[in-house]
Symmetry: C2
Subunit: 433 residues, 2 copies
Amino acid sequence: MADLSGVQQAVLWYPPSYDIRVESIPIPKIQDPDDAIIKITLAGLCGSDLHIYRGHDAVKESMVCGHEFIGEVLALGANFKSQGQTNRPALYSSLKVGDKVVSPFTVSCGECHFCRIGFTCRCPSGRLFGSPSTPGGQAQYVRVPKAGGTLYSLSGAGDFWSRSSQTNVNARPELADSSLLLMCDILPTGVFAAFQALNHPKMLPMSTGLPFPASSFRADGLNGSEKLGSEDTILTIAVIGLGPVGLCACISLLDMLATCQMTFRVVAVDLVEARREKMKAVYAVIDPSGKGTGEFIVASADESREIVQKWTDGMGCNCVLEVVGHNSALTLAYDLVRPFGTITSVGVHGASQMPFTGRQLYAKNISFDFGRCPVRAMFPMALELLVKRQDVFGDVGKETSLVDKIVGFNEAAKSYEEFDKGKVGKVLFDPWK
Amino acid sequence: MADLSGVQQAVLWYPPSYDIRVESIPIPKIQDPDDAIIKITLAGLCGSDLHIYRGHDAVKESMVCGHEFIGEVLALGANFKSQGQTNRPALYSSLKVGDKVVSPFTVSCGECHFCRIGFTCRCPSGRLFGSPSTPGGQAQYVRVPKAGGTLYSLSGAGDFWSRSSQTNVNARPELADSSLLLMCDILPTGVFAAFQALNHPKMLPMSTGLPFPASSFRADGLNGSEKLGSEDTILTIAVIGLGPVGLCACISLLDMLATCQMTFRVVAVDLVEARREKMKAVYAVIDPSGKGTGEFIVASADESREIVQKWTDGMGCNCVLEVVGHNSALTLAYDLVRPFGTITSVGVHGASQMPFTGRQLYAKNISFDFGRCPVRAMFPMALELLVKRQDVFGDVGKETSLVDKIVGFNEAAKSYEEFDKGKVGKVLFDPWK
């Protein structure tokens, strides 16, 4: 049994706001037979950590930050045993001390209705790492509740590679830890945003070539219509927010549009020039010829209004991906979207009232999808993209890479500050550096 | 050419509110070559007329009310001619004086992108009958703009029966005018609400038996899951608002659930006892055995909370249909819906701010579909249901019929008052009575 009696270094947030300290605290212990203790290899700093950082969540106690981490198993609770687990998630039988694991940013039991149907982030046993009740992963060690349902193993039988047999992953590629860390939250969340938007029934006339409602489930010609012409099936899309999740959303969206051979126009919007420059650099890698089946433009908010106006002769976007988590982004999304358009919001929103009247929403027949990515359910689809786009996900520190740098905890406070101000993109922590 | 020089009787609303008068006004004239003048046979009083009636829309001039009407063609503009119309909607070639027609409650050109893809109610040339710019159908005559795109002909070639060749309508059933009048708005709107709710991607795990995201477009087993068990695929649904549109939504929903052989639990909610009693009477007709593949309970708001709590062990409804158009209904919908649930709102909402914070919507992964029914596009599906359920749509004045009574304009003011107070259900006007 591992020695859990010592202390570790961890990144703590102190109320009321903007106060990050690295401290020595006890190594967590097994509290429940479903627990695992993970020795952390890498931890991420994520845009939604900034809500806590800025004091928006009215948390009153200090806490260990971070909901993105990968590592290896140091200790397991009594429910992990090789026999007699037929009705429980496979990891309760197969996970071993020393196995390499990735954790989604929320706990999910893997056994309830929500987990079974794929809405894993709303498991009633769910918890968010890096919240007052659940110490986070910006530490040397973390306790993972319901670990047999929550974790993905990168070792041994039943791991996530073997689940990807239908993908273009034929071997087990060697992926760097910095690449795998993106699987905890930001890459699946970006894929979720793009997937939700393109799969909304209001997009189906464009993707099926059949008018509503025939597009939805009855291709029986009840609408009396021929197939739509090409001028009716162009998709115009805006992505608002080009932080790390927004970048992932754009990369995923462009991949899905290319796969489906859709004709598209995408405008990617951010207020911060550095983020726009990063997006342009990434796009230059993923579509070096710029000759896909569509157009892709990076723009400021004001520019985006003009671009969409011009592209669509005033109609607006078919869908808008909102990857910010602020009312100003929702308002821009409303302005940019056309009647019968859809707004997919994966931004983490706070206590502000929705900035819309009922009349505004009725008058434009708006659809919304709000909320958190079920990372566990999106894992296979996100993994496929991770492998496919190692050209941007695999590198660290280049102008074209998604991860800007890997630093030690000694740079934690500074990194929060710079990330908060948009001066740096994705930062990872190596707790042992 | 018809004589359009005389006067007619019409129901007018006067500002600021609650002021309905029957007056003599000029018969409308052709103003544009795409116009038709219709002699009205029957006109409906609809729940959304009450927004104007109550003065919520801040209209400052008197106007002719009503957006539901059927009738026959009295005069046609110059663009209706039997030759040289190959690029225009068929009615510009085929419609004749004397033809019987049904009108959707909004004008749609039939020629723009929105009309082509089936989102007809957001045609840029769209207008709402019974609004300040477009005199309504509670009159003896009405002018229909873009009539070749807007109207449905019940006579001659290319009429709506011939479009329904794939349905169970094999002959042309004789439908009473009171039955056809429901096609202008309330029946298609009810079908639209049910259709949108059941076709939302968040319902697909329940209807396909595959977990998200495999349920949406990839049944390739990427999720590594077997088919879901029956306990995971029960649909729990609430319908809030049992006015005439709400009744149509329930009838449509029950029909779709039966067709798909889904196991379901539906609670139908209204504050007004008379509406709940009407719903019970209608349900007794459409499922006389009470032995469908699910449960159906009519309840007050408070009762609905308890019922859903008990049915779902606190999870909540998979989807909620909001057919009221008031923030109290949206709030109840939020309370009743489960995480990853969807709220489909066809209620006509006013100037109130949405009663939700971003955090509430994020925390429950809520999806919304707001807005007006594209009646023209929903016509075939609604017509199928109209024919199938003549047992409730075909009768007038029975406890079990959807239309309560047909009155003359001399009862217009009284009918508005009674309808506003929930004392009467669907009322139709015969302008010649």
